[in-house]
Symmetry: C2
Subunit: 508 residues, 2 copies
């Protein structure tokens, strides 16, 4: 393919993506395929002679799209959002076009330097303490990782490095193996699976401590666990606090945990993968009170802050522990400017790294602080609107409500809500997933797509009500229902092809 | 930014990338900046109101490009290639546009299924034994990882899982901690730094065994090391064989190592990050003789096979060890189709994953088997052409030559070659890096860019000769020089703006 063909193919793909987003409401959010659907439609081997790009693009619509779960449909309410935005897509394109591998400053200075700068911008945008930023005097700094899983693991490995050194100083007779065999880490029973996985990968037991009734891990629980484990001869080394748990978006008590960790010289890592984006709005920063007590902090701009996956932001108070945990230098990696700029390969698991700062820079510049805040506030308002709709139907109850996530259920036995979710999923118009909270089975409703409007929320709710009506009859006493679902909203999804004005869709 | 702005911005970026590649020979391959160059040219904070995309694109050329090391310039000969191709860039765009997170089949069936299929295509293209493929009857299969570093670590963790289980079966009294404290792994002294790093991350000593005069690790060396370590009470668990070492592209004796590993029940992992792409050409497959004896095999299509970073292909003979090492399931990750298709989140370190199979599929389809083979053969021919140029100048010697990599030096003391490399680097027209082989300091010359032509190689050689002339005078006895460097080639780089016909640039 020469550059003229690329100009044609690339521009056709731009139009394909724009058309996809403009018409995404026409597609069922869940695909209708069963495992193995693709195998029989695709040859068994690479073609000998190359195919024309037009045939490939045709097959994208014919073969790939029927098997796609549409994460950016306004009717996708599962998991948490993953970001996609136009500035970010163009940033990814440029990153692929330049195609550099920024494992050292010299391997592409702009790749390292733009990351240093955008991580400073981002830290300030969230109101993080100065000591976490690259622009501070101290050894702190920020770096882009691929995922919160990696951030959690990287911080764990740095914590391990620190504790081994600390214990060896005080007990020179202990071998590194002896120390590593006694290490133990903690998180709450609400932590994401990736936190447990980081413990498995690093061969450190990750203890799940009980959260309180609000899903929050408290300081006294941690203090007691550390005391008992120390008595048993173990060495506590790492705590992962969750700001915005996966199940219900609950917040651990960071201030209490921070005091305990600082007293006990245990590394405190904050996983704010989803909720961290809310801290761009000053009115939500109280949720990270105590952040100055932690050693590392991660949140994913690729979740709720309009930057495409992969972009997980990690800041550490003292980057020297990372560098010492990961540094394995070779002559072919040395260069004359070493020491003047961070060589980010020592801050991460892989050697290679893409120019991911570009998409972050594009999003920050083109949306601006106000555009990003509007996006977050708009989503939280949409969630509140949904919560009100649930409240207005007496058959339902809301169990938790936090930022863009509402956990709700049908009153009564869990089986009713399970049946409801099964029916919704089978109909493929909405994607929702369950969790347990307060010993009850609930459905999580998350506002995910950046193009979601009030009408979209009404439409999603109408589908939920429509399925609920087949399980719990619609009360004849209308007084218990403050707002009747608009059935036509659900039946005629296509009327939403023309999205109404959306505050975060400013034309630039 | 609305979709109309995106259509404009995206198409402008397509033209920018095409222009960049068409004119890349006009840019010095190495940037002229010093650390911190960007900081003073960029504001300290995110703009409050968003910027216009045209200003951002303008700043890309003004601020970013001066700090870019141009990995796709035909005069970039450092490290190994990293891939960039037009079909792959468009594949990345689509992946960003769909923006799904394929951590389970249900999270986007096409994402999992296309990966299964393209990994089968790719395995067949390389001539891998059937048992490594997803389409085989057994528990083998392939998966896309982010980097060879991750592939090596993932295989190491699976090996650890296997050996712990094996040892516990035979010695039920041993604790998991006891076993893990005795584990040991091996590789050659020529292995990439990422292999050592995988040992550090997994807390398993990675022993560097001496390679022979050809840079190849032999079976008897490994056998003896395992014998001694077992005598000392250690438990050998993992060997990384290198097919195409980083320094000189040497090949370990896979057949000998395989026999030893199979006898000793030690997991054998093959790191063919760069050289693996050559196996698409049947004439190079003898270099992986013995591959059927290994447990896992990785190579990076993102190095030399036209797929943009990140795309590291990993195949394992028995995927159950991966799944068991990594599985930490939660209710929110369960779905009704579980068990019928691989849930790739259990095959990797992170939970999330991009739709990377798209770019691989685009490259395989649009280049086809023959297009990819032509690309590999063309690069190897260019390297042979360069080798001939070096041979023809009696001041130089070639120490090793393997696939697209030639290691050469000035005859005599190392200091001469060091001075030569310093001068070349200071002039910024070429990027080359050194290594040591056969106790000598050599310059590695790698054919990297997919658009490289014979004329480009002549031009790079002319620059090397031009700098060498200032160190070792050009012999007056012309008989020792078979070909005089064409100085004008070097002085007038811009004449190469119009690349001559390139076999791997077929217009589709």
């Amino acid at each position: 393919m020469d550059s003229n063909d690329f100009r044609e193919f690339g521009k056709a793909m731009i139009d394909y993506i724009a058309d996809y987003m403009e018409n995404i409401r026409n597609r069922d959010v869940l695909p209708s395929v069963t495992p193995g659907y693709l195998e029989n439609q695709i040859p068994k081997e690479t073609p000998v002679e190359g195919d024309n790009w037009k045939d490939v693009l045709h097959d994208v619509e014919k073969l790939i799209m029927p098997g796609v779960t549409h994460w950016h449909s306004p009717h996708f309410h599962a998991y948490y959002p993953t970001s996609q935005s136009y500035p970010s897509i163009v940033g990814e394109m440029l990153s692929a076009g330049i195609g550099c591998v920024g494992f050292s400053w010299m391997a592409s200075p702009a790749c390292t330097e733009l990351e240093v700068i955008t991580m400073n911008w981002l830290g300030k945008l969230l109101g993080l303490p100065e000591q976490f930023l690259n622009c501070s005097e101290g050894p702190g700094g920020g770096v882009i990782q691929g995922s919160a899983s990696e951030s959690t693991l990287v911080a764990l490995l740095a914590a391990k490095e620190r504790v081994v050194r600390l214990v060896k100083q005080n007990n020179p007779s202990l071998s590194e193996g002896d120390i590593k065999g006694k290490l133990v880490a903690y998180t709450s029973d609400q932590a994401n699976s990736s936190v447990e996985k980081s413990g498995i990968l690093a061969s450190i037991p990750m203890i799940h401590l009980p959260s309180d009734n609000n899903g929050s891990l408290r300081g006294d629980i941690l203090r007691e666990a550390i005391r008992k484990d120390k008595e048993a001869g173990l060495i506590p080394c790492y705590v992962v606090a969750n700001l915005g748990t996966t199940g219900t978006c609950a917040f651990d008590n960071l201030e209490e945990l921070g005091v305990v960790c600082n007293e006990e010289e245990v590394w405190l890592h904050v996983d704010a993968a989803y909720a961290g984006a809310a801290f761009v709005c000053p009115e939500y920063r109280h949720l990270m009170k105590g952040v100055e007590l932690c050693d590392s902090f991660t949140f994913n701009p690729h979740k709720w802050m309009l930057v495409n996956f992969d972009c997980s932001a990690l800041w550490v108070k003292d980057a020297r522990y990372l560098v010492e945990a990961f540094n394995v230098d070779r002559i072919y990696l040395q260069h004359q400017h070493e020491g003047n700029a961070p060589d980010y390969r020592h801050w991460q698991i892989p050697l290679g790294r893409r120019f991911r700062a570009l998409k972050l820079w594009f999003v920050l510049r083109i949306y601006g602080t106000e555009g990003i805040r509007q996006h977050i506030r708009h989503h939280i308002n949409l969630a509140k609107h949904f919560e009100q709709l649930v409240h207005n139907d007496a058959r339902f109850e809301v169990l938790t409500s936090s930022l863009g996530l509402i956990c709700f259920r049908l009153q009564g036995e869990d089986s009713l809500t399970k049946e409801l979710l099964e029916k919704i999923t089978a109909n493929k118009k909405l994607y929702l997933i369950p969790c347990y909270t307060q010993q009850k089975y609930v459905i999580r409703f998350v506002v995910c797509s950046r193009i979601t409007t009030n009408e979209d929320i009404n439409c999603s709710w109408a589908e939920i009500v429509s399925q609920a009506n087949t399980i719990v009859p619609y009360p004849t006493d209308k007084s218990s229902i403050m707002q009747e679902p608009k059935k036509q909203d659900y039946l005629n999804l296509s009327k939403y092809n023309e999205p109404s004005v959306n505050v975060n869709e400013k034309s630039k």
